[in-house]
Amino acid sequence: MSRGPFIFLAAFFALASSWFGLVLVPQAQLGRQVESKTVPAGDIYPQARPGLAAQGREVYRANGCASCHSQQVRQDGISIGMAVVKPGTNLTELVEAILKVAPELGRNRAARLVQELPKPILTGVTRMEADKARREIAVTGAKAVVTVEPVGPDIARGWGKRRSVAADFLFDRPVMLGSQRVGPDLASIGSRAASEEWLLGHLYAPRSVTPGSTMPTYRYLFEKRRIQREPSPEALRLPEAFKPEQGFEIVPKPEAKALVAYLMSLKATAQLFETPMLLPPEPASASTNAPAATSGGTNSPTRP
C-alpha cells in the first residue's frame, strides 16, 4: 500500500463489488419488475395511483411525512390454522368432530361456536394437522378450510394484512419507505382510515380526533375563510375546542385534498404469490370471502 495505483485499485475493486452487488444486480432484478397478478383472483397489481393521489404523493414528499411515518409492514412468519365456515345438517356431529380436533375447547364452547360460524378453530398448527382436522370436519358435511395468516406485531396492530413486498411500490417515485415510527405505519392507511373527512380533521388538528397525538398540525394545508351566504359543503366539522371563531370556516386547500387522496390510495393488502395467505373468512361478509379459502395448496411457509 505504498503506491498510488495500489490504493486506487483497492478502493476501485471494493467499491465496484458493492456497486455491482447493491446497484447493478438489484436494478437488473427489480428495475424491470412489472405488474403481477393477485392470487387467486388474477387481477393486475399494483394499479398506478389515480392523478389526485399521485399529486398527493408530492405533498407527502415535500412535507417530509416519511420523517415520522414508515410504509413498511414487517411480518414474523405465518400461522396455519383451520376454520369452520358452514355447518352441515347435523350440528351434534359437528360439535363432536370439533371436540375431536380441538378437545381443549370444551363441549359448551364448541356448541356455542357452531352457532356463530364461520369461526377459526385451530391456529398455530402444522399444515398436516390443519388438513387432517379439515377432513375430520368435512366428513360431518360441514365446510372447513385451512387458513394461513401472516403474523407479527405490525400485523397485530392492524397496520396491514401481510408484509410489504417489492410489488407494492412499483409505480412510486420516489419510494418513501420511511425510517422511523414516530407515528403509525401508513402502508395500508387507506384500508383502515375511517373516512377522508377523518383524515382531513387529523391533518388540521391531530388532537381533535386523536387525543394525545404528537403529530404537528398542518394548518397551512387549509384555508380559514369567512362564511359567505352559507357554509361550504367542504368545510371541516370540528369539535368545539378546535373551531375557528364565529362566522369563519376551515376549508381544505387542494394540497390537503390531494394528500388525503394519496393516503386513501395506500392499500397494500393484495394477495400475491410471494405473500401466501388464506385468511379466515370474516363473519360479516362470509359469502364474499370464503371462496378464496378453498383453493388451498399455496400455503408454503414464508420467510420470517
Partner: protein, 486 residues
Amino acid sequence: MKAPSANAPLYVTDRASVSPADLDASCRLPALALFAGAAIWLFVASVFTLIASIKFHGPGFLADHAWLTYGRVRPAAWNTLLYGGAMQMGLGVALWILSRLGGAKLSQPILAIAGAKIWNLGVLAGVVAMLAGGSAGFDWLEMPRYASVLLFLGYTLIGVSALATTHRRTLREFYPSQWFLLAALFWFPWVYSTANLLLVARPVRGVAQAVIAWWYAANLQVVWLGLVGLAIVFYFVPKLLERSLHSRYLALVTFWGLVLFGSWSGIPDSAPLPAWIPTLSTVAGVLALVPLLATVLNYRGTVKGKCSVVWTDPSLRFVALGFVAYVVSALMGLAEALPGVSGLLQFTWFVPAQHHLLIFGFFIMVATGAAYHITPRVTGLPVCARCMAVHFWVAALGILLSVMPLAAGGIVQGLKLSQASVPFMDVTHATLMMLRVSTLGDALLLFANFIFLKNIGGVLLRLGRAQLATSWAVATAPAQTPEAAR
C-alpha cells in the same frame, strides 16, 4: 498487496525538503475557507436540530409555518450537519494532511477555494429548496438536482487540488492516513453520482430506489466518514504523542474492512426486497466488527502509557473523545445489523441517535481537534486555550445528553412496539421524557457550535485586521526617495 518494507518509516514527522511553515502557508486560504464555512453551517445545523428536537415533544411549536414544519426542518438539520459541517471540515483537514504528509505545497489552491465556495453555494441552495418543499424524498439525498450538481462540482475541484498535491509529493512512501484519504476522495464522486443519477435525475423503478438510497447512505456514513475520520485519528494521535503508529498491518485491516464490509452494509433485515439483498447486507454489517477491532487495537497500542498526554493536549482531547464516540457508534451500528436485535431497533429513535453519534460525536469532534491544531499553524495566530477547553466540555456533555437519552428511548420504543398489546399512543408517550432530555443536549450542542464559530471567526477577524494593518502600513509608509537615502 505489497507488504510494507521492514524499514518503512513509521514516524509521522516532517521529513520534507519544504519547511512545514511553507506547507502551512500554502494551505492557509483553502483550509480557512472550508473551516469557516463548516463553522457557520454547524451553527445553522444546530439551530435546526434544536427546532426539530423541540417539535419531538411539542408538536405545536412553530407548526403553522410550512417552511418550519418538522418534516422539512429535520432533513435540513441533517443535511447542513453532514454536507455543510462534517464533510466540509473533513475536506479542509484532508487537504492539510495530504500536503503535510506528502511534503508538498498545496497545488492549485485557487481550485480548492473555488470548490469550497461552490460547495457552500450547493448546500445553501439545497437547504433553501428543502425548506421550500423541494426535497427529493430520500434519506440523506434530499437535495434537489441543481444543488447536487453544485456539490459534485465543488467536491471535484477540491479533489483535484488534493490529488495534484499528492502527485507532486516529495515523500514517496505513503502513510496509512494517505490511503484512507485518497480512497475517500475517490469514493464520494462515485457513490454520489450513481445515487443522484439513478434516484433524482432518472429514477429507477420501484424498490430498486430504496436499495440504492440505503447503499448510498452506508457508503457515505460508514465508509466516507469512517475513512476520513480515522485518517485524522491515525495522523494526529501518533503525531501529537510523538511516537509511531502502533501497527501498519492493523491499519491495513481497518482499511480493507471498512471499504469491503462498510460498502455492503446498511440494508435492513425486513426490507421489502428479495431476501438475498438484506441477507448479504446483514453479513457485511456483522463482519464490520473486524475492522472495528483492528482500529481499537491499533489505537490502544499507540496511546498505551501516554493517556495523560492525550488529556492535556487540547486538540488530542477532541480526537480522543471522537474516537470513543466512533467505537460506541460502530457498536450501535452493529446492533442495528444483528439479526434479532435489528428488528427491534429499526424505526426507533435508536437509529437517529447512532447517526448523530457518528456524525457529530465522532466525525465533527475529530475534525474539530484537527482544526484547532491546523488553524494556529496556517494563520500564525493562536486560539485561546480556555475557549477550546470550554468548547470541549460543552460539546462532550451535549453529545452525551443528546445521544444517550435518544438511544435509550429508542430501545424502550422498540420493546413496546414489538408488543402489539401496548397501544401505539403509549409507545409514543413512553419516549417523551427522554426526548425532552435530548433537547437539553441539543441546546448544549448549539452553544458548543457557537463557541466553535466564535473561535474560528475570532482568528479570521484578527487575521483580517492584521492583514489590513500591514497593507495600510505599506501604503502609508513614507516614500523613500533615492535622494534622502543618499
